[in-house]
Each structure stands twice: as structure tokens, then as C-alpha cells.
Symmetry: C2
Subunit: 414 residues, 2 copies
């Protein structure tokens, strides 16, 4: 009673007293950079923005008109947590075309694939659980998982994706101390941040390992359709279903953000029914459901084949930009700088000479009005000091060339 | 190494191995009922759905056209996590009209106010933290907080809202064992599920207690504008700001779901800047940001005064429905049944005679094609067996009368 009777200073009630997770949540380099580089004179390779000239604004406008003229009572109302039923049906068809034989009940609409990561973190991670991540990995996955307080174990990758032998070693080490990881998180195709793609052989090897170790895999596939060269590869989830006749090891996340528009915030999760049901229950506590209007617009936009027109267009535009960036790097980068040569996606990965510091470089690059994301943001446990990520989807080719030249100059001045 | 070499049965990988939180996530009565009562012959008092005839579909359609004609590049792109800047400005003005003198930097756009609850749970609750909730409380708040594994301490309420003396007692008991709660969660105005409103005197008393105990308060206010009788009361958050010249104790959540349309999934949090900044950082990991298109449409719909036209219209329609329900209850309920008489909102609360079981009653009500939510769903720690929630915003008056008669018959048949 006496403690309660003491007056409590109330002007700092929201500056401490965070949960352990809340106390650890801090800003990201990407976040600050996105703000900084909104100024038009900047050439930003930092963001992960699709090119707005690829947005099918007219089609989305017409779809929105149709939805609001004919189905407003439904599109403006609360909807089922699992998603707008016609959209789930459509997504089942889209997944079938990607090699995932699933029905609509195995699809959950999410608020971008980012929400799929948060949901899986919530359902699968306890404090101290081990989560396997690529090294480097998508920074948004780290942000989604960190509040659940896992330990991250990194699996290194090279130009053919994550190294199966390294994965096996990490799993064996964990098994030796009686542990099993919560899951492996991977962007197998046109990885963020490196742009590399897991080879066909390694896909099978990773699934062999998954079977041997009872490993759960979270495959985030926002970029898979954005291939500019080389041969298409089935998602890990498709190979998993092909092996077992049903999804066993892999839950698959994807999104309309790179195919239609990120502003819709419509993504999806697909996989084992038991998992999907529990994800839907958890999602109810998060936001009840993803926007009905956005889902109805996405469905109405796509039902007449918009994606079949969009995808070749995006491939052409981004493919030119990738080529422009690769060529500019070739022409202007000083010796000792290496980079990946992605067959698709939105990013490539630059490695500076040993001993370089990309974060220090950024400060000087910003003075020259060019921006990128320094590599350390993508490493769960430190590292990557001499690496950085470049986006090639946003700026037009001429700006890409100009930006790479600025960047090369800054690097050369070391 | 030997453990790793053992084959692991992989056909049940997603049926166990949940996190502690994930293992506890289960369905809710509301959820199952909403599915059941989608059939048209049902008269459902179960959901919390706004009446679709109140949706400003035409205005939203025109707003959508304007947004996509003039601002598609922005409305379809990724946006700032804090929200679409013109909408944040608009919301600051709306909050000022509700008595909350805040600027746009103290507003965070969320994916419905439900996401505000999840974010606050993430930032403020550790395993075993005490969260104070009204008894009964909004079931969505319980769903949002439960995955963070708090203990709930209930604060009872009567027809004038939560009991300040009971709040003081709970806080004193906690203080005596050296604990302070993470926060108090309250719907002070037209509470869900009971429809009761915290009186003016009690609002001041609750804030006095907050000052004395250094108590943080989460005020969820989705219904405040929906008043059909009685005098308007300022939100707790407004009184907090009036006392201290800035938000000290109260973070305020609200939404467009009941004023425009829930299908937009646009809500907001407002309060202390330090908290709002951290909520924005946490939100990045959840869904990057709330849909840009939905935010732009909400802003474009409202900028010319739509809410000023909407609110009186909704008040008139829902006010008639509340009156129809109260009158029908008066006319048809058997003796011994009591109910609240809300001055606004969407729900009222029925108490059956001692010893009755509302869940058992529901099974029989469903046979008569009438539905409600049994009270126990709204109690964090059990109780409420003989209580139930009725929604009066969705069904037209004649259907309400018919539904109450069906319900009265079922209750009378006990």
C-alpha cells in the first residue's frame, strides 16, 4: 500500500518501461535513408521501390470503379480473416502456375508478405529459439522476427544461393546440443539483398536436408516472376509439394507489391492447412483482416489477365535497368570492387576491397547525392562491413549510369 | 551429430512445435458465429458490423477516382510507416475537434485500431506482465494482448463505466507486491461489449488515480462519435492533455471503420511522441505501413467535409435501431432479464437470471435463426456465464424487433 501512495513522476511514462522486445526495437538504416533520399536531386539505390511507371494505374482505377459500383457493400465491410474468397481462389490458380498445387483453403491473404513474416515469428519463435537466416538476409525479416527474441544462426551464401553444406553443419551443431531451429528463412530466388538465386541442385539439396532434419522452411518469394535472363526455377515450396504430394516443409509467402503496386498492401501465405489456420487465428488479433477494398481491387484488376500483361512489361523495364547498372559498374568501378550479376529481382550486391567501410562511404556518397544501403544492416550477427546493396528497379537507365559514376568516384577517392 | 542423422517424421511439422504464444492462440466465439450467421435467414446480433447502407460508397468511389487520376504514383507506392502525410494532418485536426490538442507528428496511422492494440502489446507487455482490463472487455483487445502472455487483472464496471475504487484497489494490491501494471486498457465511451460510458466524474477520478500510480492508459475509442442521446464527454486522452498540456498517461486509438467503412482498414494512434515513434518502428516489422491507396482514399473522401455529413446520418440510423431494440426488449423479455441502455455505440449487454447459461442458450437461439455473442468471450479470467452481447447497428429496425422476439421466446422457454 505504501508504494502505491508514493507520487510517481509521470512526465516520462512512455520513455521507459518497454517490454524487453520493445526496448530492443530501433530504427534501421533503410528507414532513415528512405527519408533522406526523397529529395529529387538524389539518385537513390537505397530503397526497394518498384518503378511507378510500371504501376497499372488505369487498370486499378477501372477495377476500383467496378468494385465500388457493383460490390461496395462487400468491399467496404469487414471481411473474413482468411481473405476475400474470390481473391483466394485466384491466388490458388496463380500458385498452381508457379508449380504449387494448392487449393484456396491453403491460402491466407496477408497485409503484404511482411505480415506473413510477423505471423510466423509470433507462432513459431519463443525467446531464445534459433532461427536460421541467410547471411546476409532481408532486413525486414530480421525486423519481423527480432521482437520475438530469437537467436539468429547465419547460413552463408555465394552466387548460387545458400550453401547446403553450411546449412547441414549448423543443423548438426544444433542437434548435437539437443536443439532444433524454429525454421529457416530464405529468399531463394533473386534474394534481397544480394540478388543471387539458389541453384536447382541446391534446391534439391536443401529439401533433402529439410527431410533429414525435420526442418521447417519459410520461403519468401516477392521477386520470383521478375526474371530477366536465365531459366525459371520452381520455388522450394513447389518442389516440396512435388516430393510429398502436399506441403510438408515449406510455407510460401508472396505479394502483389512488385507485380501490381505496393500501396495495396496485399500479399499471401500458402502452405500446410494446419499452419494456415493458426496463422489466420493469429492474424485476427493483428488487424482482423487485410483491407477488403484493396483485396477486391486486386482481384478485379487481375481477373481479366492483367498480370500476364504486367509481368512482361516489368521484366523488360527492369531488365534494361539491370543491364544499365551492370554495364556502368563494369565501366566505372575501380579495381578490387566485385558485384553479383542477378538474373532477376531488384537488387545487386557490391563487395568493396577488404578493409573498406561501406557505412563511412555512405556519408561521402550522400554528399554526392547518391545513396545505397550499407551491408551490415542485412547481417543478423554482424559482418558485411565492406559490402553494400544497390537497387536497380527505381531509377531510369540514364540516372542509373549517372549514379554509378558518382558512386565509383566516391569509392575511388578512398 | 547422431541426433541430426536420425530421420524425422515430417508429416506433422506444422501441427506442433508452436511457440508458447502460438500454442495458446485459439478461435473465438465471435469468429465462428460470424461465419454461421452469414446466411440471409439469420437475424444476427452477434457481429460488430456497421450497416452497409451507411457506407458512403459514392463518395469513396469519387475519391478513389481522383486519387488514381491525379496521384497514382504516390497512392500505389510504398509510403512512410507513420502514415500518408496529408491524412496525418487531417487526423490532427479531427483529434483537435475531439479535444485532443496534438500535431501530426503525434499521430500514427494504423491498419485499423486493432493494430494499435497489437503494437502496444508488443511494446509494453513481457511474459507475466499485468494488464488491467475492464470486466467484461473488448475481445479483440484480449486477442491482441494474449500472444504476449500477460496476466490480466479485471476491473469491474457498472452502468457508469469502470469502478474507480476497484481500479485503485487492484493498483494498491499490485503495489503491495512491488508490481506496476503495463497499462490499463479501456473503451471509455459506448464500451464494447456493454455499451456503457464512463461518467464525467469517473473520468476525472481515473485520471487522478493514473497520476497517483504512474499508470499508463490505452484508450480505444472507435465509437465516441456515435452518440444518440445524452451529452458528449471528452475522451480520457483529451482530459489528460488538458491537465498536463501534453499527453502524459493516455495513448488514444481510433478508426474510420465506424465512420466511413471498415474495409479500408485505416485507424490511428495518437499520444506521446516517444511512444508514437517506437510504435512506428515496431509497425515497420509488422506490415511496413498501412495501405497507401486506402489512406489516400480516406483522406480524399474526408477533406471536403464528408464526416460532417456522415456522422449525423449514422447517428440517426443507429439511434433508431437502438431505440427499436430497447423498446422490443421492454415489450418481449421475460421478467428477471436486465440490459444496459447505451447512449451510443453499437452494442448493449443483457444479463439473464442468475444460473442461466448464455452459451447453452445460443445453441437454441441458432435453431430459431437468431444469434448473439455469449458473455464469457469478453471475460479475461472467466465469468459472465449468464450474460450476452447484442449488436443493434446492423439489422434494420423491423428485423431487430423480430430478432428480439425470437430471442425472448428462447429465453422464456428455459
Amino acid at each position: 500500500m505504501s508504494a502505491a501512495a508514493q507520487p510517481v513522476a509521470s512526465d516520462a511514462l512512455w520513455e521507459s518501461g518497454w517490454s524487453v522486445a520493445g526496448g530492443q526495437i530501433t530504427g534501421s538504416a533503410i528507414r532513415e535513408l528512405l527519408k533522406l533520399t526523397e529529395q529529387p536531386e538524389f539518385i537513390s539505390f537505397a530503397g526497394g521501390l518498384p518503378a511507378p511507371e510500371c504501376f497499372p494505374a488505369e487498370e486499378i482505377g477501372l477495377a476500383s470503379e467496378r468494385v465500388l459500383a457493383a460490390g461496395a457493400a462487400r468491399a467496404l465491410q469487414y471481411g473474413p480473416t482468411e481473405g476475400y474468397p474470390p481473391l483466394r481462389e485466384f491466388l490458388a490458380g496463380l500458385l498452381a502456375a508457379r508449380g504449387l498445387a494448392l487449393d484456396a483453403s491453403q491460402v491466407l491473404v496477408t497485409s503484404g508478405s511482411q505480415q506473413g513474416l510477423d505471423l510466423l515469428g509470433k507462432l513459431l519463435i519463443d525467446i531464445g529459439s534459433t532461427v536460421l537466416v541467410e547471411e546476409p538476409t532481408y532486413v525486414g525479416a530480421l525486423q519481423a522476427f527480432r521482437p520475438y527474441q530469437p537467436r539468429f544462426a547465419g547460413v552463408p551464401l555465394d552466387e548460387h544461393g545458400l550453401l547446403p553444406a553450411a546449412l547441414e553443419t549448423v543443423l548438426a551443431e544444433l542437434a548435437a546440443i539437443g536443439r532444433r531451429p524454429a525454421f529457416l528463412s530464405t529468399v531463394a530466388t533473386f534474394q534481397n539483398p544480394t540478388g543471387v538465386t539458389l541453384s536447382a541442385t541446391r534446391r534439391e539439396a536443401v529439401l533433402d536436408i529439410a527431410v533429414r532434419h525435420g526442418l521447417r522452411i519459410v520461403e519468401d518469394d516477392p521477386y520470383g516472376e521478375l526474371r530477366y535472363s536465365g531459366e525459371a526455377l520452381p520455388p522450394l515450396a513447389a518442389l516440396d509439394i512435388a516430393r510429398h504430394g502436399e506441403p510438408r516443409h515449406v510455407v510460401y509467402l508472396s505479394t502483389f507489391s512488385k507485380l501490381l503496386a505496393p500501396g495495396l498492401r496485399v500479399g499471401w501465405a500458402a502452405g500446410p492447412a494446419a499452419l494456415l489456420q493458426r496463422m489466420a487465428l493469429a492474424k485476427q488479433g493483428l488487424d482482423l483482416h487485410t483491407g477488403s477494398l484493396a483485396q477486391a481491387i486486386a482481384f478485379e484488376s487481375c481477373r481479366d489477365g492483367l498480370l500476364e500483361r504486367q509481368i512482361p512489361r516489368i521484366r523488360r523495364i527492369y531488365g534494361e535497368r539491370r543491364d544499365a547498372m551492370l554495364q556502368a559498374l563494369e565501366l566505372s568501378m575501380p579495381p578490387g570492387v566485385r558485384w553479383t550479376r542477378p538474373e532477376g529481382g531488384m537488387f545487386l550486391w557490391l563487395t568493396l576491397p577488404e578493409g573498406s567501410d561501406a557505412s563511412a562511404l555512405l556519408a561521402r556518397a550522400v554528399e554526392q547525392k547518391v545513396a545505397f544501403v550499407p551491408g551490415p544492416a542485412f547481417f543478423a550477427n554482424g559482418g558485411g562491413t565492406n559490402t553494400l546493396r544497390l537497387n536497380f528497379s527505381y531509377a531510369p537507365p540514364a540516372r542509373i549510369v549517372e549514379g554509378v559514376e558518382r558512386l565509383a568516384q566516391v569509392i575511388g577517392q578512398r
